[in-house]
């Protein structure tokens, strides 16, 4: 198991290089100039040249790329152009906020998806199914940018239960997590329903029922565990959507995470910060999927990591 884990972790390296290369290429290919963004267009040409030189932007793209990869190899993400601080420090300051938000969003998604999926899947076509799937359709369709302010108006402005924006105690986390997690909850609920329907028709369920188990007991003891395997995979894969959802959610809720850092950096063409943030997002995604595989082994007895 350890062996396999180590191998998977080593496989991160080519992924990191690939992501770093793509990000580098994209951000350098789009027009826009960090020096002009900082000095303004009326800057004296000598200042522009001086600054470009001191930032190493006057070197060829290939040289800049080599320097970037070289830094990456020793864990140096470079220095932010506009913040004048090491990128790793900027990310370290904000990453916990993003992880907190993403984890809370995932928790909301799972807490909502399970009851909904169970209600829908245990009696397909019934009233519970229709209302649960109705909710799921709405949940998938409503974008974060609309759901966030809607929740704010209801729970913060009208009911005054929860704070509007910012990061603080647990109460600050509720609305952004609900905004982020609702769409994923809807997807997971639909997946769980499908799995349960499939499982209900399987031979082992018929066996369970014929040996005298109640429908409910058969579902919880045998059905759910089998239905879970596909859900776990989806949770891992959906982590990507969840992480990209943090970008919008962080803007709406003035949440000080790396999503906001990334958006600001793109506007300022702060190349090192953009590269660092995208790399962080990508690595988080990959690591979560490795973790998903480990969890998979726990819920599916047929899978043994060796």
């Amino acid at each position: 198991m350890i062996n396999r884990l180590v191998r998977r972790l080593f496989a991160l390296i080519p992924v990191a290089v690939g992501v770093a290369t793509l990000t580098f290429a994209i951000i350098h290919l789009v027009p826009g100039d960090p020096v002009v963004a900082m000095l303004g267009e009326t800057a004296a040409p000598s200042d522009v040249v001086g600054m470009r030189h001191s930032l190493g932007l006057d070197r060829s793209l290939l040289e800049q790329y080599a320097a970037f990869l070289g830094g990456l190899a020793v864990g140096n993400l470079g220095e932010s152009i506009s913040y004048r601080k090491p990128v790793s420090q900027l990310i370290a300051e904000r990453f916990p906020a993003t992880i907190e938000l993403a984890a809370a969003g995932m928790l909301v998604a799972i807490l909502l998806a399970f009851p909904l999926g169970l209600i829908a899947g245990s009696n397909p076509g019934g009233a519970g199914d229709l209302s649960a799937m109705g909710f799921a359709i709405v949940g998938i369709s409503v974008p974060h940018i609309y759901l966030g302010p809607l929740l704010m108006i209801l729970f913060s402005l009208d009911l005054r239960w929860l704070p509007l924006t910012g990061r603080g105690g647990l109460d600050h986390l509720v609305l952004p997590a609900a905004t982020l997690g609702t769409a994923l909850a809807a997807i997971l609920a639909r997946m769980l329903r499908q799995s349960l329907i499939r499982v209900r028709e399987s031979d082992y369920m018929r066996t369970a029922l014929s040996k005298g188990l109640s429908a409910r007991a058969a579902l919880f003891r045998h059905g759910l565990k089998n239905a879970l395997t596909s859900i776990v995979t989806i949770v891992g894969l959906q982590m990507g959507a969840l992480l990209s959802g943090t970008l919008i959610t962080e803007i709406i809720f003035s949440w000080p995470g790396i999503g906001r850092l990334l958006i600001t950096a793109i506007g300022a063409r702060d190349y090192p910060v953009v590269e660092g943030c995208v790399l962080t997002f990508a690595m988080t995604y990959v690591v979560v999927n490795i973790a998903t595989d480990l969890v998979y082994a726990l819920v599916d007895p047929r899978v043994r990591i060796s």
Binding site: M38, M51, L164
Partner: protein, 469 residues
């Protein structure tokens, strides 16, 4: 936004007055012994927030820091006319420019920091000190900024002890924070369409005052078809500015006659104007040799470049120009990409705004034929020898009355020759909680009066909160 906050932390020798003139702040009096020399006599007893007295040595230090090549300060460019700065004694500063330069006092608007303040490039992270009404006590980038009173500043009774500026990136959420009372103040950053909703809230007051932010439509003279004055005039007549201001801006703007608003000392209102007249536009296009085909088109197609924020107005221009037979294709680009294109002069038509124009020398910066990219902001490559002569004269004529006459001609020529179509001046809209009293608006949107605001009903913190972008 940072310049708005800097005004609360730093003092400058002079600052922008209400009418585009410069008034003394640190300077008690100003003398002009020669066309290239300005002498500033400083007030005694002005103190930085640590109690040190501000003297001419601090002024000298500030300017030398900006001018140091390693400073990489974006302000360096604004000092290009400066030849030397001297401090003959602790309360006198002499600024010399290379050539007679009418807006020379503009040089004296830099915020003064005490001797020994490290350059920002050296990145100590410590907030620089100033002698303004407030000092910065806490700052978290992208999150908030907290100002507290400079104890050595003569505050009026009842003024705020501290101000918290919250950075709220989402426009809808900024409005929600005002409605909830989390924020007390927002200046020029609330979308027009939510203003009626906020106005219905009894705890909120909305202040609308004339502003000098100037919105214009810019032509690129490298496109031969736009070099034809008849085509530019046709476009000016085809745009129903009144309709746009009343629907998109919800009335929060005034029809502009030129770059300078009526609040400016140099404003000239007696210029050619272009009220909505599609018939005249069609006639001009016929005369210019673009007759209408059966479907109404004239084979005149231009590209309108915009960032996503301006796309809505672009679509309105597109519909209005279509009525007279001009086809507009809209190219929407992410802001940094768009702006890089505009700065390089890479567009047919575009619409932007100039914010906070104080001195009419702005005309030199945007219409002089030497100021084309990358040397300046004449991004449309406009070239007219008469304009060049006038803006040069305006830049070097010291006598205010003579200068005013020159700029009257500049404004008339710009309205006749149309390097820009003047669209509107945007009103300043401040939304605030009624517990704040004494807000005073400035045409350029300055938030200086936050320093004198009074809290009618102070809460436990006694701290007004302003939301910023």
């Amino acid at each position: 936004m940072s310049s708005r906050i800097n005004e609360l932390i730093f003092d400058s020798l002079v600052r922008n007055g209400r009418n585009g003139q410069f008034v003394g702040r640190l300077a008690q009096s100003i003398e002009h012994p020669s066309p290239t020399k300005t002498v500033y006599h400083l007030n005694h007893g002005v103190r930085f927030s640590d109690g040190r007295e501000l003297t001419a040595r601090d002024v000298l230090f500030t300017y030398n820091s900006i001018l140091a090549p390693e400073s990489m300060s974006p302000k360096r460019a604004s000092l290009e006319e400066l030849k030397s700065i001297e401090a003959p004694d602790d309360y006198t500063v002499v600024i010399t420019v290379a050539h007679p330069y009418a807006p020379a006092v503009e040089i004296a608007t830099e915020g003064i920091v005490p001797v020994g303040t490290p350059l920002p490039a050296q990145g100590t992270g410590a907030a620089p000190m100033g002698s303004g009404p407030f000092k910065m006590v806490a700052y978290s980038r992208d999150e908030f900024l907290r100002l507290e009173r400079n104890p050595y500043y003569p505050h009026p009774p009842g003024a705020a002890q501290s101000i918290l500026f919250k950075i709220v990136p989402d426009p809808t959420v900024r409005a929600l924070e005002l409605a909830e009372g989390v924020c007390d103040f927002a200046g020029n950053n609330i979308q027009n369409d939510v203003l009626p909703w906020l106005a219905a809230d009894r705890s909120i007051e909305i202040s609308k005052t004339p502003g000098n932010t100037y919105r214009y439509l810019s032509f690129n003279f490298r496109n031969p078809r736009l070099r034809d004055l008849r085509v530019r005039r046709a476009i000016a007549y085809a745009i129903d500015r009144n309709a746009i201001v009343s629907t998109v801006l919800l009335g929060n703007g005034r029809m502009a006659t030129g770059m300078l608003s009526p609040e400016s000392w140099a404003y000239e209102g007696n210029v050619t104007t272009y009220s909505y007249d599609p018939r005249k536009a069609r006639q001009l296009l016929d005369e210019a040799g673009y007759p209408a085909a059966k479907d109404g088109t004239r084979g005149l197609r231009f590209e309108f470049k915009t960032s996503p924020e301006g796309a809505r107005i672009g679509e309105i221009f597109q519909a209005m120009l279509q009525r007279v037979g001009i086809e507009l294709t809209i190219r929407t680009l992410e802001f940094a990409t768009y702006y890089a294109d505009i700065q390089a002069g890479n567009f047919d038509l575009t619409s932007l705004q100039w914010v906070g124009i104080n001195d009419p020398n702005q005309y030199y910066r945007v219409f002089d034929s030497k100021k084309t990219p990358p040397h300046g902001e004449n991004r449309g490559y406009y070239s007219n020898p008469e304009m060049d002569r006038l803006v040069e004269a305006g830049k070097t004529t010291i006598d205010p009355d003579a200068r005013k006459r020159i700029y009257a001609q500049v404004q008339q020529l710009a309205a006749d020759d149309l390097p820009y179509v003047s669209l509107w001046w945007v009103d300043n809209v401040a939304v605030m909680n009624r517990r704040l009293a004494g807000f005073e608006a400035y045409p350029n949107g300055s938030l200086r009066s936050l320093a004198t605001l009074k809290l009618a009903a102070p809460d436990s913190s006694g701290q007004p909160v302003a939301s910023i972008q």
